[in-house]
């Protein structure tokens, strides 16, 4: 019997798992996709918010600043990429300036550090590529960017290193309340646990319903994002926000951690919990909105686009807390600033569990460090040579566009990659100009070899995302040979 079963291996589930792995508990993460973070997390914008947007009267508003503060320590321990590039909320005309003042005040109440209003001259000097018609800006130096999937991978890897068990491809179908605990049923097994932490994102309300709870509902809100050509790198140095609208922060200019600029996200109520399609209307909206803020950016600069779904609760706030069902905790409705708040949510949940009577005995052999992937392409020639001397597979190039070597593909598989997307998100192979044209077959062979699976069973991201199918002759041949 586990002490805690966390349903949902997104960034929230992984953050909670890592936090709980400090203590003498047996914890399991139960994830429905082929890998962690394959739901909303991998489509997240990757922004670590300063915290001045959200009201101090909401749970999301309360947790965001604490979450932001925790990122430096987490980054030094888990070695994921994190950069405090700062953020500017820009006023497009004079009527927007009072809103900047209001945001500044709101931030100060919450303890957001370093907030400053910049006048037009300062703004033009610091961000010369923004529209010269912008009047002023609110600067927040504590905002930053990460790769959200990199963060989730690092969290779960450290959690597993410290004893947490991860089950993937395991959607929870039923939950029985039994003997002071719960029995979760997935297609392959039954999991007995004392406590259930429901971080099931887009499906959190469905999971709660499995134990007869219907206190909240989740409705998906789609966000489309557009990645721009590498040659626009450096166009802006900070996160650029317009003055926010009612339930959305607006269309942003996001210099992602790798430097590539991204614009978006839209905020559109979505029909179903699987609809991650981008649309013409979304594209038009994004690029029309951006024109007034940064006229150099046009739709033609797009190199790729994608969409994600936010799990928004009917109260429009986080739903974190115990329920009528003893031992069943909800951590649901984690929309923006969920990624920023994640470390604080983990602490909050830990404290909640403690209040519920869970004994938290700290491990004295807790290993807080994750070394981080060696990115061959970013190393000096000397460091590259040293790596190659230790492992000649560092001299075997698999992804030409991002200069990813075979050793790094193996490392991605060692660290949990089971699919092509898993390799892509861990090593960057397939993210470059040719979008996998050169490296796809190589990565498929490497996966097939390591996983002991036939080539044609390798998928893009699990589920039904098969890549190739067998030729009829080959199938007959196999049948004849009795393989």
């Amino acid at each position: 019997m586990y002490d805690v079963a966390i349903i949902g291996g997104g960034v929230i589930g992984c953050a909670i798992a890592r936090e709980l792995s400090r203590y003498r508990l047996s914890t399991a993460v139960v994830e429905q996709c082929a890998e962690v973070g394959f739901g909303t997390t991998k489509t997240n914008s990757g922004i670590i918010h300063a915290g001045h947007h959200s009201s101090p009267n909401t749970l999301k508003g309360k947790l965001v600043v604490r979450g932001n503060q925790l990122y430096d320590k987490l980054c030094s321990e888990l070695n994921f990429g994190f950069s405090r590039i700062g953020e500017l909320v820009v006023a497009q005309d004079e009527t927007e300036i009072p809103e900047l003042e209001r945001l500044k005040k709101n931030g100060e109440i919450k303890g957001v550090p370093g907030l400053e209003i910049w006048d037009q001259n300062r703004l033009r000097r610091e961000e010369p590529n923004l529209s010269h018609r912008l009047m002023a800006a609110l600067y927040a130096p504590s905002a930053g960017v990460i790769n959200p999937y990199e963060f989730a991978f690092a969290l779960i890897e450290n959690a597993m290193e410290n004893g947490v068990e991860l089950m993937v491809q395991s959607p929870v179908l039923t939950i029985k309340v039994k003997d002071g605990g719960f029995v979760l049923s997935t297609p392959d097994r039954k999991i007995t646990t004392r406590i259930v932490v429901n971080c099931a994102g887009l499906f959190a309300d469905k999971i709660a319903q499995l134990v007869g709870l219907s206190d909240f509902t989740i409705h998906p809100r789609k966000g489309e994002e557009y990645m721009l050509d590498k040659r626009l790198q450096g166009l802006v140095r900070r996160l650029i926000f317009p003055v926010p609208l009612k339930h959305t922060k607006g269309i942003l200019i996001i210099p992602t951690f790798n430097g590539t600029i991204m614009v978006g996200p839209t905020a559109q109520e979505a029909g179903d919990r699987y609809d991650v399609s981008t649309t013409y209307e979304g594209s038009e909206y994004v690029f029309n909105s951006i024109k007034n803020i940064c006229p150099s950016i046009t739709a033609q600069d797009t190199i790729t686009e994608f969409a994600g779904l936010r799990a928004v609760s009917n109260s429009d706030d986080f739903v974190i807390g115990p329920t009528k069902v003893n031992g069943f905790i909800n951590v649901a409705g984690i929309q923006s600033p969920g990624l920023t708040a994640a470390p604080a949510i983990a602490e909050y949940v830990r404290d909640l569990l403690c209040e519920l009577g869970l004994v938290l005995e700290e491990k004295d052999d807790f290993k807080p460090y994750v070394p981080g992937p060696s990115r061959f392409a970013n190393l000096s020639l000397g460091a590259q040579r040293r790596l190659i001397a230790k492992n000649p597979l560092f001299a075997k190039v698999v992804c030409r566009c991002e200069l990813v070597t075979e050793a790094e593909i193996h490392s991605a598989i060692d660290h949990g990659a089971r699919t092509l997307d898993g390799i892509k998100f861990r090593s960057r192979a397939g993210m470059g100009r040719c979008q996998g044209g050169f490296c796809t077959t190589r990565c498929m062979h490497l996966l097939a070899g390591r996983l002991g699976q036939p080539f044609h069973e390798i998928t893009k991201r699990g589920g039904d995302s098969w890549m190739v199918t067998e030729m009829a002759a080959a199938r007959n041949h196999r049948a004849k040979k009795g393989k």
């Binding site: 399609s277 981008t278 001299a395 190039v397 566009c401 979008q435 044209g437 893009k460 995302s465 199918t469």
Partner: protein
């Protein structure tokens, strides 16, 4: 493979496809003692290895060969001619020292990271395919959306099918050829969708790959959406208006489990750019002189990396020349600088090389913007040549003899493609 690598060479060729092999042979022919081909694949041959259809070598060998046959003929010559061959070798950069020696940085599993010094370099890295991102199709991002070239590799080299019910976007040759190939392998090709009002590929391929199998070619049609959760399930196609925007009122869904993209090729010039070599925005390849030398002295370019070809025979011709000049350069032979600029005029999309010299014969390669027949190539006021027809899909090649340029005293020569209004052709 030979995998013998010295430390000093006269000519190093980056890329061992038909371009690279031709350049290496040209270099040896022209007196270069030590020539090395570096190729990132396990075998040389480049894209030819996966082009199992015939249509290669008609001009050069006067035989119709398949891609692998053409490649092997050249591999034999290259081995016979004592060219060093290093496969599984990726060129990660080139540095130039104060003496002009090129230091080519190579990554290879056997030999690790090492440098090869050479006097001249021939770039022949070929090209890559345009991807979905460059034409921005909205919708979801399921598996089953791939370029026709990747599908060709999967079918012909790996022995797997990309899917069973195939839609093809773009009527470029690779897409047409794959439409036939997949049909012969038992797949259903539901249609080829082309945004222009005419096919981008050779007419021969439209006939032999589509008409023969009853595969419909939908012109002036674009793919407006891609749907599918994990795997592609359908596309939405719509006719386009004059401005290439989809008329969604006439859109319809097409069920498929695979979408092949055959929407164009881009010369792979990242390495060239890292050297600061000047590129021509139209060709996507380096600007070259009449010796096929780039803006970097001693660095030459040929094949698809210079401009996208349709006939491998032209690649061979061009690359042998590049190799010859690269060898000359390595031996310190200086050619007089070009003093004539060659510029594209009416209906000329581009012409190569970018400059000419009056001292020798030149081979001009060019493409037209729009189909025209019959027509004449007008080279300044020096020469006119009649052609039965020109189409953008077929590269035009002709020679300019030195005696023609001797009479030319200007600094810019313009090439135009004009309609031939003088009646019957002579051909």
């Amino acid at each position: 493979m030979l995998d013998k690598i010295r430390r000093k060479y006269d000519v190093v060729v980056v890329g061992g496809g038909p371009g690279g092999m031709g350049a290496a042979l040209g270099a040896r022919d022209s007196g270069a003692e030590r020539v090395l081909i570096l190729d990132r694949e396990p075998e040389v041959g480049g894209i030819l290895l996966q082009c199992i259809h015939s249509g290669f070598g008609l001009h050069y060998f006067r035989e119709e060969l398949t891609g692998p046959e053409y490649a092997e003929r050249f591999l034999e010559k290259v081995i016979q001619d004592d060219v060093d061959l290093a496969t599984n070798s990726y060129v990660s950069g080139i540095a130039i020292d104060s003496n002009g020696t090129k230091q080519v940085r190579v990554m290879n599993e056997q030999h690790g990271l090492f440098t090869v010094d050479t006097k001249s370099v021939v770039l022949s890295m070929g090209c890559r395919e345009r991807t979905r991102g460059s034409i921005r199709i909205p919708g979801t991002r399921p598996s089953g959306v791939l370029t026709a070239g990747l599908a060709q590799k999967l079918v012909n080299l790996e022995g797997y099918l990309p899917g069973k019910r195939i839609a093809v976007l773009g009527s470029g040759d690779i897409g047409l050829i794959m439409a036939r190939r997949l049909t012969l392998e038992g797949c259903e090709v539901v249609g080829v969708f082309e945004i222009m009002p005419y096919s981008n590929g050779l007419t021969r391929n439209v006939v032999q790959c589509l008409d023969d199998f009853g595969i419909p070619l939908h012109l002036s049609t674009m793919v407006a959406y891609i749907y599918g959760r994990d795997r592609i399930e359908k596309i939405t196609v719509a006719p386009v208006e004059k401005d290439f925007k989809p008329d969604m009122s006439r859109a319809r869904d097409v069920k498929c489990d695979t979408l092949l993209l055959s929407i164009g090729l881009i010369p792979e010039n990242e390495l060239s750019q890292s050297l600061g070599i000047h590129l021509d925005v139209i060709t996507g390849g380096p600007r070259v002189s009449s010796t096929l030398e780039t803006s970097m002295p001693g660095v030459f370019a040929c094949g698809n990396v210079l401009h996208v070809h349709d006939l491998v025979d032209f690649v061979t011709q061009e690359s042998i020349l590049a190799g010859q000049f690269a060898a000359e350069w390595s031996r310190g032979i200086q050619r007089p600088m070009d003093n004539i600029r060659l510029v594209p005029g009416d209906n000329v999309h581009y012409c190569l090389p970018h400059t000419l010299s009056p001292e020798r014969e030149h081979t001009i390669y060019m493409r037209c913007k729009e189909a025209l027949k019959p027509c004449r190539i007008r080279v300044g006021n020096l020469m006119e040549k009649k052609l039965r027809f020109v189409v953008p899909a077929e590269m035009i090649m002709f020679k300019i003899k030195p005696d023609l340029l001797e009479k030319f005293y200007g600094d810019t020569l313009r090439i135009d493609l004009v309609p031939d209004t003088q009646g019957e052709n002579d051909g």
